[in-house]
Structures are given as structure tokens and as C-alpha cells.
Amino acid sequence: MKQLWSFIRKESRHILRDKRTLAVLFVMPLAQILIFGYVISTEIKDARIGVLDNAGDYSSRQVIDRLVSSGYFMVQDYYSNSRQMENALRRGDIQMAVVFSPDFGSDMERPDGTSVQFIADASDANTARMLVNYAEGIVAGYELQSTEVLNQQNTPLIVEARMFYNPSLRGVLMSVPGIMAMILILVSAMMTSISITREKEYGSMEVLLISPLQPWQIILGKVAPYVILSLVNAITILAVGIFVFHVPMSGSYLLLTFVSLLYILLSLSLGIFISTVAPNQMVAMFISLFALMLPTILLSGFIYPIENMPVWLQWFSYIMPPRYYISALKDVMFKGAGLLVVWKEVLVMTGFLVAFLLLSIRNFKVRLE
């Protein structure tokens, strides 16, 4: 026990004395969440639209007023013919064009209705789809109100979509669990794998092997300081998310801590596993970066919805540990879910943890290559 304790102390000293790495470890999560929170926003705000108003009547102006007063849209310009409109769209001056038919207002009273056209710049497909959806919603609202008076018996079927748990579709909400998943796996897996392979590279592993230290003591001593470091990181991200970006936290903190701790341990065991495979720090770092960080970002549902992936990639995403953590985190934070809801994720992560630990123990060499 005393041996283990002095090993942990030694390991903590390594971490604390490497001021530069330490600074990166603490600043990185902060920088990430601020970047994701402020820059990469998927929200619609003041989108530039152009208007080609062939009708120019009361109703068309009212529709435009509605669009603008929603706060989502901002009229960049008015056009008198479709060529001008197309040019503006092509140049990227506007993100979406609104085209009214010549008899927009008077047609509204006719049984087959009237039409308004939205032309969106779909070179940014996600934004285009969102813009059209938003505009449609606003126009539908206007239509309902203005026809209500005339046609009370014959209310058309209105689909009312409501976004639960994230009503204003704020992107930062989505990125907090994702950033937690990414930072934790990065700090835990990459840093432990590097710190173990460093001993191999510098030759001190030879001396440690000769000592009476057991393999589990070496591993546990390496890992313990990083558990604390990762927890501090998790708390930082959560605090910034909750206090700066007002991300809701409706579940229990205890469950959140438990799930996060499980994920940290899982990442650490992954790091140990990498270190048993990698011969030096360089390889350990590349494995961590390419095998952990990129899939975490791309395949875990952090940025791209898993449902939109090709089927074979969806299958691949099942073996991404962060996927389960992000899913559990979202349930707990946004929906206030309890253990009864996230037990599947907890079970899968425990499975991963056990698997990686067994693999690492099997792979740990008590001799040199």
C-alpha cells in the first residue's frame, strides 16, 4: 500500500511539474466549450433573405413583416425580377429568397388557395432545411390567423411540431455532453497511454519491472492522478455549460457524477490498453488521436445525428464508448432521467470497462519485448 501511495505521489509530481501540459489540460476544455458554444451554433438568427414580391399587396407585406418580426430573418434586399433574385442567391448575398405569386392577396380567398415560394441556398444543406422549416411555420401561423375569421367551421388540419427538451434548438446544449465525452476520453486515454509509454521510452520501465511493484500497482498508480484531473475537467465543462450557456440540468448530480466516473474509468482502461500495444509515446498519441478523438467527434452522435449515417456506420457507432456516455448524459441533464432510464448505457459502459481491463492485464508484459 505504501508502495502504491509513493507511486501515485511520484506520478502526480510528473503531472504538476509539466506546467505546459497542465495548462493545456485545463485550458483546453474551457476553450473547447467556448468555441463550440459561441462559434459553431446551429441556431437561426438574422438569416439574410431577399424578397421578390410580384403581388405587392397587403397580405404579402404582412407575411414579410411576420418573417422579420420573428427575429430569425432579416430582409437584405427587394428584387423586381427573378434574375436579380437568382444572382443575389448565387453570390451568397442572401440565404433564402421569398417569392410571392402576382395575385397573392386576392388568391387567399379562393378555395385552392394561394402560393408563396421559398428558395433556399442548399449548398449549406442543414441551414437551408432549417430556414425553410422556420419560414413555413411562420407562414402557416399567419395563414391560420387570417383565415380563421372567414372559415371557422372548416379549420384545416394543422401539424404543430414542438421541440421538447431543447425548445429553441440551441446548439450549445447538444455540444456540452459531446465536449465532455471528447475531453474526458482525450485526457484520460491519451494522457495515461502517453505517460505509461514514456516510461518504456525513457527506460525507467526496466527499473520498475525489476522492482517488487506488481503490474496492477504500476497501472493503478499511473491512472489514479488522471481520475482526479478528469473529474476537475468534467466539473469545469459542466459549470461553464450551466452558468454561462444556461444549459439545463434537470437530473440528479449524483447520477451524473456516477455516469461520468464510469466513463472516466472506461477511458482510462482504454488508455492502459493502448499503452500495452504502443511501443512509444508517438504511437500512443496517434492511436489516441485517430482511433479515439475523430470517431468520438464523428460517430458518437456528437455533431452528426447517428440516424442520418449509412447503416454500416451506424453499426460502427455501436462500438464507440462515447456514444453511450453522450446518450446517458443527455437523458440525465435534459430530461432529468434516473438510473432506470439510463441503465442500458451504464451496463454497456461497464462491459467496455471490464473488457478493456481484462485485455490490458492480459497484454501487460512483465518482461521487455
Partner: protein
Amino acid sequence: MIDVDSISKNYGKVSALCDLSFKVRKGELFGVIGPDGAGKSTLFRIILSLLLPDSGKVSVKGLDPVQDYKSLRKIVGYMPGRFSLYEDLSVEENLNFFASVFGTTVEENYHLIKGIYQQIEPFRKRPAGKLSGGMKQKLALSCALIHQPELLVLDEPTTGVDAVSRSEFWSMLHQLKEFGITIIVSTPYMDEASLCDRVALMQQGRILEVASPQDVVDNFRGALFGVSGGNMYRLILDCRDFDMVETVFPFGEELHLSFKDGGDHRTDLHEFLKRRGSDEVSIRTIQPGIEDRFMALMATS
């Protein structure tokens, strides 16, 4: 203490050790002498249970490094060839760490390392990475000794260390013998061989000879001559052209030269060299050293 019985080790197709056998007695200061790449480190790692031999058996105090590696590792102290302590930890922290890892304290075994550690104690707060080469070696030796091992394995401890520190280091090893610790040490420096009780001369994974330094020298057959004067390079080429010459090696400012029958053909050689245009050549008889024996062994093997 150590019984190495015909071990071999290959790295892929490269044969690192080839059928080695020797014994080390308890309390002995045993040197393994050989140039870089002779297989010294591989041999030590096999003795220490860090590598497995492809064939053959090793026994250290009756323990088999293959099976009983756990109990073996408790009784050995090891100082690897390159500095492998923690450079970001201070002198003191390194020593305390290794003491507690081996389940002891610095105070408990201070008597063992006192002579060595006192020299670096003024720098005990300094990070190990900022020590000079000689001081690093002293710290590494202190760390390897702190748990009072029965066998101390030192892999090229004096490589890259200045001459003064080297001789200090060897006198420390002699002091350690007083405590009954068996020491095996490897070195590429032939002049250090005479400081060991017995030496094994190694070359390309083979042991050429195991004997006391004195016996190694005595085993040198025939007379040895020192040749000097004029251009060294030309002198070597000229000497090699002389029929009776067996071996010629540059050795400091002289050439060490022996004749084929081990006899004395100084006057003939002098004449020969004079005819080649080297006038100021002097030839003298000299006492053979360990390096001469090593060269002779290498030439015959």
C-alpha cells in the same frame, strides 16, 4: 551466485548471444568487457529476467529467471545503460521513490549509499535531469543500492562519464564489495578490466575468455613490441607488408606489434622500414595489456 549455462538469444535473424556459459562467484566484482554491440546488455537483461533466452539456462542464487522472476527481482539491483531515473524529480525524490517502491527507507540503508550519496547530497533539491553525467551515475547507483540487493547489475555505468568520475566510480564499487554484494558490471573500456576480480571478454555474442585480469594478460603468448615514429598511418601499412608480422594495432601514440612465431625480429623490421623510407622509427619491447590479449583473441576467433 550466477550460473549461465549455454544461453543463446536471437533477434529475428540476428544472433545476439551465441552459446554463452560462465559462472560468477558470490561477492565477486565481475566485469564483462567488450565493444558496443557485443551483447552485454542482452546478457544482463536475461540474467535479470527482463528477457527470455531462446535456449540455455540461467540460475541466480538458485533462482530461475524464467520461472522465479518475482523472487529474483527482489534480490537484484539494476542500473541500466542509459540514465533511467526521473529527470523532473529531484535527487532526493528519486531516491525516496525507489526506496519506498522496494519497501524500505533511505534511513534504513543509508550506510550502504553513504559514501556515494554524500557527494551528491549538496544538490539533493536539484532535478535529476540537471545533474552532470558523473553525478547522474552516482544517483543511479544510489537508487539501485537503496534496497540492499544481493546482486548488483551495472550496465556500462561509466560510459560517457569523465575520467575522474570513472575512477571514483570504480573505487565506490570496491567499497561496496565490503558489504558482500556481488557485482557484475559491463564496460567497453579495456583499462577498467584490471579493476575487476575476474572478467569475461565478449565479442559479437560470444565469450572469448573468462579469467582474472592478470591471467588474461599472462595468456598473451609471445613478445609484444611498441613501434613509433613518423606518419602513423604509413607505418601501419608498412608494418603489415613485412612478412613476419602477425598483428599490428594502433594503440595511443604507438603501434602494438607481434611477430608470427612470437619471437623477436626487431632488427629485420627496422631494416625493412628504413628501406621503405621511415628513418626515425623506434621499436621497444612492451608488457602486453588486456586490450592486446583481446585483439589477439579477436584475430584468432
